[in-house]
């Protein structure tokens, strides 16, 4: 069996900070090693969850768009929302998920801009639903900062 990626990254974090950095003479290099070690710690967390987070976001945005497409009066925007709602992630590779995520986020910006200026009765609840999504999505992406104490 091979060691898990997150275990290796966390191991490297410790090795860089405890074994490598103290032996460096140049302050700038020592600082860089410290930053790289912290990012390895974060990579350990991100490696395991990256696809899961992106699939969850893409799925939630598509569900939101499906709901919004039925409410929006603007025919062009409504059609774009319906198309996006019907799209699917063709691959679980993180770069492919990121590309889809970027397209969906772009449409989310358009949708929220539209909703904010709408006086329709559905606008308030839909705006609240968008914010619920954004708060949950940003919280889900929270990176743990390593304790260095």
């Amino acid at each position: 069996m091979k060691p898990d990626v997150d275990l290796v990254m966390q191991g490297f974090f410790g090795t860089l900070l405890m074994d490598v950095a103290p032996h460096l003479n140049a302050e700038y290099s020592m600082g860089n090693v410290g930053i790289m070690a912290m990012m390895m710690f974060m990579t350990a967390e991100e490696h395991d969850r990256a696809a899961d987070i992106r699939v969850a976001e893409n799925t939630e945005m598509r569900a939101l768009f499906a709901e919004a497409a039925k409410l929006i009066e603007d025919a062009a925007l409504s059609a774009m929302l319906a198309d996006a709602a019907a799209s699917r992630d063709a691959s679980l590779r993180v770069k492919a998920l990121d590309a889809a995520n970027a397209v969906l986020n772009g449409l989310l910006v358009e949708l929220q801009t539209y909703v904010e200026t709408s006086k329709a009765a559905w606008a308030g609840p839909l705006d609240a639903r968008i914010w619920d999504y954004l708060v949950a999505a940003t919280e889900r992406r929270k990176l743990t900062f390593p304790s260095l104490g």
Binding site: Y28, G31, M42, G124, L134, F145
Partner: protein, 348 residues
């Protein structure tokens, strides 16, 4: 260029600037982390003058090929020149050089403040037992910056004037443009923040002040006795609403685990009371709220820009990658929560 290459070139430059000096020697050239917008080098210069051998530790800040914040070095240098005679703890600026023949890129030289350290902005306890004493000085100095007359101290040279009711828009336009140009993917939270800021402009400040632009934990040096000896990193200084600095200094990113103690120093209420006393100004809650949201957006713009620099290979400094990963997530989270609350309030 290696450190060994730099030393003789710096010596040649100092010989040009110090005709009274002879036998100039440069030693201990070492690159340090000193703000991600300039390459910063620590060094020691020694020379013979008037029959004596003199030594002075120096800092050299050189323009990078690409940076976290694209700024003009003369703006930063001029801030040091304006504030050094006022008693505000800043290093003495010595030489500003734009001729590329010396070190390939523009640079400036200033006094090195020795025996000091800077706290980490990402540590919940960046100052340990010195937090209280440093916190009181930190907010006192920021009050003095806000109280300073930009014209009287010569800060306004080459700055361009700005009307009190225009400063919010100038800053917002500037940082929105950074996001427009540098975002690698659409940013829903940043865009929502920009729309909120435009829909809810702040009242104008009672006066235009010097704004440091990056006044925060990690951007000052202090000695072991707990005295702030140097306020650094003036790259983003400008004229504007003094609450911009107050809100940036109190931004939740710095010492993020302790939002009740901005920057991991003293309690928010005490900090703001000190600032009001020393600046002679008051903190209007509505204006403050606008600048808080603005500063989290400005942070996002900086981290987005850092991410682009790294991704495109323009600058592979690890701090840019770190800022892009960690700081973007923090500011997205901070803004999403606050703006969601505002939206909820507005619907009631």
């Amino acid at each position: 260029m290696t450190m060994d290459d730099l030393a003789p070139r710096i010596a040649a430059y100092l010989a040009h600037r110090m005709p009274q000096a002879s036998q100039i020697e440069i030693s201990g050239v070492s690159r340090i982390h000193g703000g991600a917008s300039r390459e910063t080098f620590r060094l020691s210069a020694s020379w013979r003058e008037g029959g004596n051998r003199k030594t002075r530790p120096l800092i050299l800040r050189r323009d990078p090929v690409a940076s976290l914040i694209e700024t003009e070095r003369d703006v930063e240098y001029n801030a040091y020149r304006a504030f050094h005679p006022t008693g505000l703890p800043v290093p003495e600026p010595l030489y500003l050089e734009t001729d590329l023949k010396w070190l390939d890129r523009p640079f400036f030289v200033m006094e090195q403040i020795e025996g000091c350290t800077a706290g980490s902005p990402f540590n919940p306890e960046p100052y340990g037992a010195l937090a209280e004493t440093l916190g009181r000085q930190f907010w006192t100095h920021l009050g003095h910056i806000a109280a300073a007359d930009p014209k009287e101290i010569g800060f306004d040279a080459n700055m361009g004037s700005i009307a009190p009711d225009a400063c919010w828009k100038r800053e917002l336009d500037k940082w929105e443009k950074v996001i427009d140009e540098d975002e690698l993917a659409p940013q829903p939270v940043a865009r929502a923040a920009i729309r909120w800021l435009r829909r809810n402009p702040p009242p104008p400040p009672p006066k235009i002040s010097v704004v440091h632009g990056d006044y925060r934990t990690g951007n000052f040096l202090f000695n072991p006795e707990g005295e702030i000896r140097a306020i650094l990193d003036w790259e983003m200084c400008h004229l504007g609403d003094p609450l911009e600095d107050v809100a940036w200094a109190a931004d939740p990113l710095w010492a993020f685990q302790r939002p009740d103690r901005p920057g991991g120093m003293i309690a928010r209420d005490e900090a703001f009371a000190i600032w009001e006393k020393e600046s002679g100004l008051t903190i209007d809650p509505g204006r403050m709220r606008w600048w808080e949201i603005f500063n989290s957006l400005k942070g996002l713009a900086i981290w987005i820009s850092a991410g682009k620099e790294y991704q495109t290979g323009a600058n592979r400094d690890p701090v840019l990658a770190f800022s892009s990963w960690y700081c973007t997530d923090v500011h997205n989270r901070v803004l999403a929560k606050r703006l969601a609350d505002f939206a909820k309030e507005a619907r009631r």
